[in-house]
Symmetry: C2
Subunit: 241 residues, 2 copies
């Protein structure tokens, strides 16, 4: 893990960009240390997503959490995937035409999950070796299929706040049934680019004894600020007590 820049934000938060091999990422640490860690998931495109990610980092730091994120395979400045681009094009066309999307979602999301999850795990190894970061660890955000797989295979992740804002391959419902950690699922009820019924079915499928669904209005990008506070309190309950 090689830090490439650092700056001090408001409230004393230290923001550092890093490279981990070919993977760029950002780490935010609060003034209190060592801090429990929340991994910030997102749909890809670190530069485009930066303002929202930095906002989530600041909101999390107010509750004492360090946060970190990495670029997704094929996104931002990383080598694009022709197959993923094709699948994305096919998905938009199929949705516009009202055609079934299951096969396309498999082509788009499953290879992404296969590549992204080991990268998150490698990143976690590096982050937990830093003196200012402690366990336990949470995962927060999308791509929800990545969060599901991480919640299932990565025992260091003690709780997950999942953003149900993207399509999930049907085969992953079996994985969801085996997820047992506490879950906080955020759904934008009026997210027109999302399959609401699939999100509700996925929430139902999770095996976790403690699982909470928070649905709000405001469209895909309009998650209310109070919903972020609710998510932070979920992590306080599970990572700080």
């Amino acid at each position: 893990m090689h830090f490439t820049s650092q700056q001090r934000l408001a409230d004393g938060i230290l923001e550092r960009e890093f490279d981990l091999g070919e993977i760029p990422g950002v780490l935010w640490t609060p003034t209190s240390s060592p801090a429990p860690l929340i991994l910030l998931g997102h749909p890809g495109g670190l530069r485009r997503m930066y303002p929202r990610l930095a906002g989530r980092a600041r909101q999390s730091a107010a509750y004492g959490f360090a946060t970190a994120t990495i670029e997704l395979p094929g996104s931002g400045d990383r080598t694009p995937s022709a197959d993923a681009e094709q699948a994305r094009t096919d998905l938009h066309r199929a949705l516009a035409a009202g055609e079934p999307v299951d096969e396309i979602v498999d082509r788009l999301v499953l290879p992404l999950v296969e590549r992204a999850v080991p990268e998150w795990q490698t990143t976690l190894d590096a982050l937990l070796s830093l003196p200012e970061i402690s366990g336990p660890v949470g995962y927060s955000g999308g791509v929800i299929a990545i969060g599901v797989r991480l919640a299932l295979v990565e025992p260091r992740i003690a709780a997950a706040g999942l953003f149900a804002g993207s399509f999930v391959p049907r085969v992953m419902f079996d994985e969801a049934r085996r997820v047992m950690i506490p879950l906080h699922v955020l759904l934008q009820w009026d997210d027109e680019g999302n399959d609401r019924q699939q999100a509700l079915d996925l929430f139902d499928a999770f095996g976790s004894r403690e699982k909470t669904l928070h649905a709000n209005m405001g469209g895909h990008t309009g998650v209310p600020h109070f919903a972020g506070d609710d998510a932070a309190r979920f992590f306080v309950r599970h990572l700080r007590s």
Copy 2:
């Protein structure tokens, strides 16, 4: 409004029982005064419900709210309704047999709404005349059909936290579409005596621009303590700012 008893609870909360004509009720006021008011809805049977109602009152008082509740028509010590008893029996039999319940729900719930809502309004008149109570006012709990009607017809109710734990007559979906105040809807996802799909359809129907659904595990009576705090913060946003 005639106070019949009073006692001081922990945290300085004053609990007073009252009669309003034939309607018995309980008022809880915090030490800070005048306090905004939350009306506590429940399924009927004040004595049986008292421990949970007092718990909700204490949780609300921690956020500075006064709370009040009244006995429902036909419940507890009030004159029972033979029609309601018959409808309740029919409902349990129909649910056990997997038969349609719409007509029975209409017979059970619509007369209750017709009687209970004016009683809540009369209670509100009396409560708001007390110097220790101020507006604005929220409604919190079930019977959800009563909450829907109150949210629609009673302009003094500025926000409602509805417990989606009981059946709603189909005709009331039209009323739900006309409800415009901020809503916080609580659903116990694994509530076996409830129609989850109907609850989701009702949430979808509400006309409110700000509406939030919180779904948790734990069965009908197992609402987690943190869900009560989430609801209290909803009321803080809408009644105290």
